[in-house]
């Protein structure tokens, strides 16, 4: 159990910057998911915490103690962390038991205690009975469990997981997600979990840190990320939000924002100064009403697909060419049909500089 502080961390491979000033505080006992598109630097950040890569500049602390910083570097073997690799990285020449036991032996745990801790770690992941198998003779899910057992047997203060479920099928992935939650609950260890699957991050984590292009975009609870995305990237990446250009008029008395969307005035929640902004709309923020309904925005149905229980309706706005909005309906409209939209909810954020410049 331990906290992690990443302070102004930068890292480049050759001339390519991979992390550009990352600040991240992970609390003791927290389950944090690192979420972001492929190549954004998640693995690099995780490996920096583990001590498998060296920082360009900045500092990394564990439990307040400096692990890496100016003039100081603690080797990975002295950081007392656990790590589960995407490839599982089980040693092929050792049995499952030896794989789990090896770390204990390296840490100088006496033989009788070793036996007992191996047994309980294997029991915790449900691998009892497979001790003498070689990793090659295990299924994907069993390898995953063996890797996890190897990690928890050492009772590390932090467990780092790099897309540990990426190689498993959907069903197994779901089962293992619950396993991770349970282990987190039972051990109380700090978990740092890398994934590029937003639904996995939301389902598992206490807090999610969203990364893009080597920078942290937002760190918050899954609910906050979904309801109040801080940047356009987060809005688009989490929960498939549609982003529409709006003009922010000002804050009304109830605390909500007044905005105009294609000349249409609406009230919405948000965090943006007057001027150009972006309205993030999720499918459940959009209500479809009959065409020309008073106080509504005209739209046309582009595509309809059945999603089991409801229809996902793709809409285009004649007033805003090039933008699409997704809504959900219980009955299927006809493609090409003219409808009108009303909005309940949504989140307004300040437009990125590029959009601002365009508007000016």
């Amino acid at each position: 159990m331990a906290s992690v502080d990443v302070i102004a961390a930068t890292k480049s491979f050759g001339k390519t910057p991979v992390l550009r000033g990352v600040d991240l505080a992970i609390a003791d006992g927290e389950f944090l998911a690192l979420l972001g598109p492929s190549g954004c630097g998640k693995t690099t950040l995780l490996r920096l915490i583990a001590g498998l890569e060296r920082l360009g500049s900045g500092e990394i602390r564990i439990d307040g103690e400096v692990m890496e910083g100016p003039g100081r570097f603690v080797d990975p073997e002295d950081r007392h962390l656990g790590m589960v690799f995407q490839s599982y990285a089980l040693w092929p020449h050792m049995s499952v038991r030896r794989n789990v036991e090896f770390g204990l032996a390296m840490r100088g745990v006496a033989r009788p205690e070793r036996r007992q801790r191996v047994a309980s770690a294997l029991a915790a992941v449900g691998l009892t009975g497979l001790e003498d198998r070689r990793p090659q003779a295990l299924s994907g899910g069993q390898r995953q469990r063996a890797a996890l057992a190897r990690c928890i047997a050492l009772s590390p203060r932090i467990i780092l997981l790099d897309e540990p479920l990426a190689n498993l099928d959907a069903h197994l992935r779901h089962a293992m997600q619950q396993e991770f939650r349970r282990l987190h609950r039972e051990t109380g260890t700090t978990f740092v979990f890398v994934t590029h699957d937003q639904s996995e991050a939301m389902a598992l984590a206490d807090r999610v840190a969203v990364m893009d292009k080597g920078q942290l975009q937002q760190v918050g609870t899954p609910e906050a990320l979904y309801a109040e995305p801080a940047t356009a990237m987060v809005a688009a990446f989490v929960g498939k939000g549609a982003l529409l250009p709006v003009a922010v008029e000002g804050r009304s008395q109830g605390g909500s924002l007044s905005i105009t969307l294609a000349g249409h005035r609406i009230e919405s929640r948000g965090d943006a100064a007057p001027g150009p902004g972006l309205l993030c709309l999720r499918p459940d923020d959009v209500v479809i009403v009959p065409a020309n309904f008073p106080g509504s925005l005209p739209a046309r149905v582009a595509e309809v697909s059945y999603r089991g229980g409801h229809y996902a309706v793709d809409l285009v706005l004649p007033a805003l060419p090039g933008h699409r909005i997704e809504a959900s309906m219980r009955h299927a409209p006809q493609p090409g049909e003219a409808v009108s939209l009303q909005f309940e909810g949504g989140w307004v954020l300040a437009a990125p500089d590029a959009v601002r410049a365009e508007a000016a």
Binding site: P76, E77, D78, F85, S87, W91, P92, H93, M106, Q136
Partner: protein, 576 residues
């Protein structure tokens, strides 16, 4: 439905055009006469009945002799111990060069692989020059053995030492390749659970590369079994006879009348070589599935405070074993006469002048070796391209069999092949009615047999990576097969064939094992020349000639290296 377009091997195409069948028949004849007959006849000869008509008499007689028993035992000891030395040096070097941040690793790698480029007899000569009582370098340091004593390298220990160094690069290359395929994750997972680098090496890396070490060891063992140059230069004066030198001495002393007996001795060499290669094949089969290559290779371990001392130690060690003997060779060549102390006043280029222009025999050897190497590499390339094309691209069964058979003359010790060649070419040729024994042609025949593989492998490897669509596209537009071979495939394989040809030239240019048994007056090769100059006691001249040969080979190696890197990656044996 969209058509699935996975690349698939082309369907074997029937051979129709007579020109093509003619070409294949020619290839068949080549392999039959130069590969199948020599090795096949060797067995028949060795398995003959004895003089009294007893079953397997020749073998029984040959194997019963005291000298055979001693040579057999010596061979086992020399090969076993030198393999051990090669494994220790090769594995240690691979670990240091591939896993640590030692300074100057690329240069160290080159120096460690240097012995591969230097033929065994020249290595032996260099070490003789370095370690003997008249050693110019030890002399300068006052460390030379007292004059009059025998050179300590003329002994079993000397043979083991020089062969061990000579074959260490084989292990180094095998282990380096093995290390490159250890996934980085496995190493990092070890460090995360608390294993320090030394323990990661012992518990994780070594078990993972054990198959590569064993495979390299098997290769070193097979090379040691077949080595002739080292036991010839160190063992004959030291009265330590190995099987290869026993065969040489018998044939040299008694001529073709003992062919049956030496063939029987050769069986043992073949048996040992096959055992070594079989072990290697089994290991490679077994370990193929164990480790799947994923992701990037591991970052080197930082040596930290040890970097300087370990670096200095490694550099000194490598310079001592790779460079110092060569310096001794050059120094020996610069001494005016054996026994004269080398100094600025005594230094003389007379030996170089003599080997380059003072001796008709040496000059003849230069011409002979150059012409032999040129013809052998040209013919091997010309044969390798169609053979590989038929075997790989066209998947012709006969060609595939011929391709497989071409391995044999390179896998068996050169001494064995030479005996087979003598057996086949000693009697007068059919139709022509004369024998090529004792002529230039018999050495060429041996080279054509032994070195075909060096051109065939790279060409076949390149063809294997060629998209079958290329061949099929040409086929669809109606290009006849021989034209496809000439216009489509030949340009593609040209760089590989060229690299292979240069390798053959290098190998043939300073070859000793085959020509030592096949030469006669007028057909001396450079390898034979070095051997005899040394044998006659003219070490300075032998050293000068060896220096010139080595320089020539180095320049060739540089050319091969550039061609390999530019045009035919994965073809040149020392590039990793």
């Amino acid at each position: 439905m969209a058509a699935v377009s996975t690349p698939r091997p082309p369907r074997p195409e029937r051979l129709r055009i007579p020109g093509e069948q003619l070409l294949l028949a020619g290839l068949f004849l080549y392999v039959l006469v130069l590969v199948v007959l020599p090795l096949g006849r060797l067995f028949i000869e060795g398995l003959k009945q004895g003089e009294a008509g007893e079953w397997l008499g020749v073998v029984r007689e040959a194997w019963a002799g005291r000298s055979f028993g001693r040579a057999f035992w010596n061979t086992l000891v020399a090969a076993g111990a030198s393999t051990l030395l090669s494994v220790v040096l090769g594995t240690g070097a691979a670990l240091l060069l591939r896993l640590t941040d030692l300074p100057g690793r690329a240069a160290l790698m080159f120096l460690m692989l240097l012995p591969m480029l230097i033929p065994p007899q020249i290595s032996a000569l260099a070490w003789i020059g370095l370690g003997g009582p008249s050693s110019p370098i030890l002399g300068l340091l006052g460390l030379a053995p007292p004059p009059g004593t025998t050179n300590p390298l003329y002994s079993m220990g000397g043979i083991i030492w020089v062969m061990g160094l000579e074959h260490a690069p084989l292990v180094l290359l095998a282990v380096a390749a093995g290390l490159a395929s250890v996934p980085r994750d496995l190493i990092e997972a070890g460090r995360i659970v608390g294993a320090r680098p030394a323990r990661v090496v012992v518990h994780i890396i070594l078990p993972a590369i054990a198959p590569s070490v064993l495979a390299g060891a098997a290769l070193a063992f097979v090379s040691a079994i077949g080595n002739f140059g080292v036991p010839a230069l160190l063992g004959i004066p030291g009265r330590v006879t190995l099987l290869t030198t026993l065969i040489y001495q018998r044939l040299n002393g008694f001529g073709p009348s003992v062919l049956g007996e030496v063939a029987a001795i050769a069986f043992v060499l073949v048996g040992l070589a096959i055992a070594g290669l079989a072990i290697r094949t089994i290991i490679q089969r077994r370990s193929g599935a164990a480790i799947d290559r994923t992701g990037p290779i591991a970052d080197p371990f930082a040596l930290g405070r040890l970097r300087l001392p370990v670096g200095v130690l490694t550099w000194v060690g490598v310079l001592l074993i790779s460079v110092l003997p060569l310096l001794a060779l050059i120094a020996t060549a610069l001494v005016p006469a054996l026994g004269v102390k080398l100094s600025l006043e005594t230094l003389s280029f007379a030996n170089f002048a003599w080997v380059l222009s003072g001796s008709a025999m040496v000059q003849r050897a230069f011409v002979n070796s150059t012409i032999l190497a040129l013809i052998a590499s040209a013919i091997c390339c010309i044969v390798a391209v169609p053979l590989a094309y038929f075997a790989v691209t066209r998947r012709n069964r006969l060609a595939q069999l011929l391709d497989l058979l071409s391995d044999a003359p390179y896998a068996v010790p050169g001494t064995v092949l030479a005996i087979g060649i003598i057996i086949v070419f000693l009697p007068p040729l059919p139709v022509l009615g004369f024998s090529i024994y004792g002529s230039f042609a018999i050495i060429l025949a041996a080279y054509l047999s032994r070195f075909l593989l060096l051109a065939l492998r790279p060409v076949a490897a390149t063809l294997r990576t060629v998209d079958p669509g290329l061949e099929e596209a040409a086929r669809i537009v109606g290009t006849p097969p021989l034209r496809r071979l000439w216009h489509v495939m030949t340009p593609i394989v040209l760089p590989s064939a060229l690299a292979g040809g240069l390798l053959i030239f290098m190998s043939a240019f300073n070859e000793l094992t085959l020509s030592a048994l096949l030469w006669s007056t007028g057909t001396e090769t450079l390898g034979v020349m070095v051997f005899f100059l040394q044998y006659e006691g003219n070490s300075p001249a032998a050293a000068a000639l060896a220096t010139v040969i080595t320089a020539a080979v180095m320049i060739l190696a540089l050319i091969v290296d550039v061609i390999g890197r530019r045009f035919a990656p994965g073809v040149v044996p020392w590039q990793v």
